[in-house]
Symmetry: C2
Subunit: 274 residues, 2 copies
Amino acid sequence: ATFTIMVAGESGLGKTTFINTLFQTSLKPHQDPTERHNKFQSAQETVEIGIVRAILEEKNFKIRLNIIDTPGFGNNVNNNDSWTPIIDFIDDQHESYMKQERQPLRTNKKDLRVHACLYFIRPTGHSLKPLDIEIMQRLSTRVNLIPVIAKADTLSPAELDTFKTRIREIIEAQDINIYTPPLELDDPASAEHAKQLIESMPFAIIGAEEEIEISPGKFSRGRKYPWGVVEVENDEHCDFKKLRSLLLRTNMLDLVLSTNEIHFENFRSTKLGA
Amino acid sequence: ATFTIMVAGESGLGKTTFINTLFQTSLKPHQDPTERHNKFQSAQETVEIGIVRAILEEKNFKIRLNIIDTPGFGNNVNNNDSWTPIIDFIDDQHESYMKQERQPLRTNKKDLRVHACLYFIRPTGHSLKPLDIEIMQRLSTRVNLIPVIAKADTLSPAELDTFKTRIREIIEAQDINIYTPPLELDDPASAEHAKQLIESMPFAIIGAEEEIEISPGKFSRGRKYPWGVVEVENDEHCDFKKLRSLLLRTNMLDLVLSTNEIHFENFRSTKLGA
Ligand SMILES: Nc1nc2c(ncn2[C@@H]2O[C@H](COP(=O)(O)OP(=O)(O)O)[C@@H](O)[C@H]2O)c(=O)[nH]1
Ligand SMILES: Nc1nc2c(ncn2[C@@H]2O[C@H](COP(=O)(O)OP(=O)(O)O)[C@@H](O)[C@H]2O)c(=O)[nH]1
């Protein structure tokens, strides 16, 4: 079984750092070093999409992870259609799976269908950009979309609060369908956890590869500034742990099932109807 | 005498906050409250350029300041020509001054020629964007251009160092002429100060309107995060004081003279030659 996460957004928002942070805090490297990093060439453009392969190993549980690092976009003077490689990649995986399904011998189905797409938002403190809205609208109809606020250490607690509210308003007004953890769950503890995840969205993300000594002998991944140390795994500083919990624990199965049952079926019926 | 500073760059980089910080830490409001804020309508577009008027009062010295807050640009999907209102404003002031000069009665010359243009750079940690280079090239031939790194509290000391070096390399490679404090000065102390200013460029800027209690009873303008307090007027945290010193003390006269003697003359000869 594989679980595939895509990371998307303009260049310079810490996407690569986030992938490394997730990797270093929670994952093991893929056993085969030659399989660890792949480049995917989008048909339309000479744009490379990188795939990092990892293993998530828990007590009774081992799953192969693919993390797709997309090229940063939105940095040109004219950014029309800059989202094409990412949208194509998502569609291509459904296309490829559909073809394999039709094979008489359905062996070795290589499945890179994206189960969750993290869309990184620039922390301006103001609002979503027109480009963000354009891209999220296109992503939301194809994949489980999870918008996150990048480099959240740019925002004070009050600014973050205002920004999250503003983003939620725009997402609602623009009819952008984002992934929401199901709330009707059997046990009250899981339902409460899901409620807390939903209340924190969009998640405020901070990424760091460096281990910082936050107190004598105590190390934690974070960013060291002259005025203090930001800790990635501190809930007072950002929502990294909440996002990780959603992706790798509480909602992984739901993300996979909804991709296969909703997004893949949408794709298939669109293709067959066409 | 008036001194006019323009602030330019994409939306969300803290330009308005910077203007307020400069105002609150260093300036007095213009006596006439009706004259304090003006809107300037660019001829070509329905874009408003805001003018904040202030007074700089030192012991033997009083000067009227104009701070021009330009509309943020670069947030559209297609940003071609998004720099037009700003470039037009600069040219219009030279044009207007030239017309007034030709009047037989040269009274009440209202002079809004821009003496320094602060161009705000997004702190990605990577590089300048193509749009930054486009705009800075157009600004550099018309006005004293001072690029600054916005929201510098996004960058760790090591990242800031790398970013400053990268920006300097690109500015050099792209032949962008930026304002440099003159170094051949009579006294060694001033020469040393000029050298330190040049070594810190592009200046790392942090803006804050809030007064934070940084130690019991001691207040300073800054940004309060859960992991610490950033102080605007702390040289270990950013270059705000260096920039303020350049603009309002050590290089104000040079900025005014070079605008009148170099940039205005360039404009005049271009116009007369045309
Ligand atoms: N302030 C801040 N900087 C970050 C964060 N994550 C990464 N960075 C820095 O931002 C710069 C760009 O990061 P990178 O991961 O290459 O961004 P990408 O272009 O989106 O892949 C690097 O200097 C990182 O160290 C973060 O959470 N906060
Ligand atoms: N991290 C950080 N945020 C800032 C800084 N200056 C302003 N901000 C915040 O950034 C947001 C946008 O600031 P604003 O001055 O309106 O930006 P403008 O669109 O460029 O005029 C506000 O939430 C400000 O509080 C700064 O130096 N660092």
